[in-house]
Symmetry: C2
Subunit: 176 residues, 2 copies
């Protein structure tokens, strides 16, 4: 079985979450299988190892699951991008629109230094709202966007198009 | 320098977070140093590798930073323990008291099967409220508590005493 097929078998479809009519892609079931996790982790490292990355940024919370392991294997820092109010030190913030209302994410100001080439990882690419907000945080601190990686892409939501304004390097392991 | 000294040098004290009078131990600065992360990760694996662990449970969000890497290295599943309303499938819940009000955490019901020996990891042991709530979730599903590990323990809050009701295997890399 290809890695793509293994991931598709492991991901669980949960209907009507978080609200009626939406089929949620549950990735927690991937973490039941340590060998699959290792294979995913090494596959991502292999896809991005030649991009001259200075740091991996992961988006809270599910971007924290594999982001640090990827950063450790590449031998680069891991940057936490969190929801508003969670990071204790001086932060840079970015607000973005949701379907209803707005969300705000933060990063420690000293997590990125000017010229740093930062690669953004998260579990799921949907509309690209949180990933592009993460890119804005990095750009505000003078960093560069090395690219994006996601386990899963919901292609019909066209997040890929929005992110291509920040980098051409966008990879997803599985697309729906 | 010992690992303990390295961690103490890397952790940042942030005064008056989340409120006046509290000195917050900021662990995000540990993740600036991939070699230190690897050393911490291997140290934790070494401390727990003989406990016949069937799964590692990590508590959202900071328990997600190293929990999956520890689980991958041990070759066991990683279980997500999250704040209420975040997990999409059937969950088991536990409420616990905070200084003011209550909090509630959840776990997928099928994450733990009866008899499974689950080891709980988080970044910080303070009062032990969230770690003992995590233990309750695992016990509710018929699991056993293999032990607890934390990067940092705030000894004066006596969380260790509460957790010792669940397991004797409690390890912390650094205590204050």
């Amino acid at each position: 079985m290809s890695l793509e097929q293994k991931i598709k078998s492991a991901v669980r479809d949960v209907p009507d979450f978080p609200k009626e009519g939406i089929v949620f892609k549950d990735i927690t079931t991937i973490f039941k299988d340590p060998e699959l996790c290792k294979e995913i982790h090494l596959d991502i490292v292999d896809r991005i190892k030649d991009l001259k990355i200075d740091a991996i940024a992961g988006i809270e919370s599910r971007g924290f699951l594999l982001g640090p392991a990827i950063a450790m294997t590449l031998g680069v820092p891991f940057i936490l991008i969190r929801k508003k109010g969670k990071l204790p030190y001086h932060t840079v913030n970015h607000k973005y629109d949701l379907e209803y209302g707005t969300a705000e994410i933060e990063m420690h100001k000293d997590a990125v230094s000017p010229g740093m080439n930062v690669f953004i990882h998260d579990d799921l690419l949907a509309t690209g709202g949180s990933a592009s907000a993460a890119a804005e945080l990095i750009l505000k601190e003078g960093g560069k966007i090395a690219g994006f990686n996601f386990l899963i892409e919901l292609g019909f939501l066209e997040g890929h198009k929005i992110l291509s304004e920040y980098s051409e390097n966008i990879s997803t392991l599985v697309a729906y």
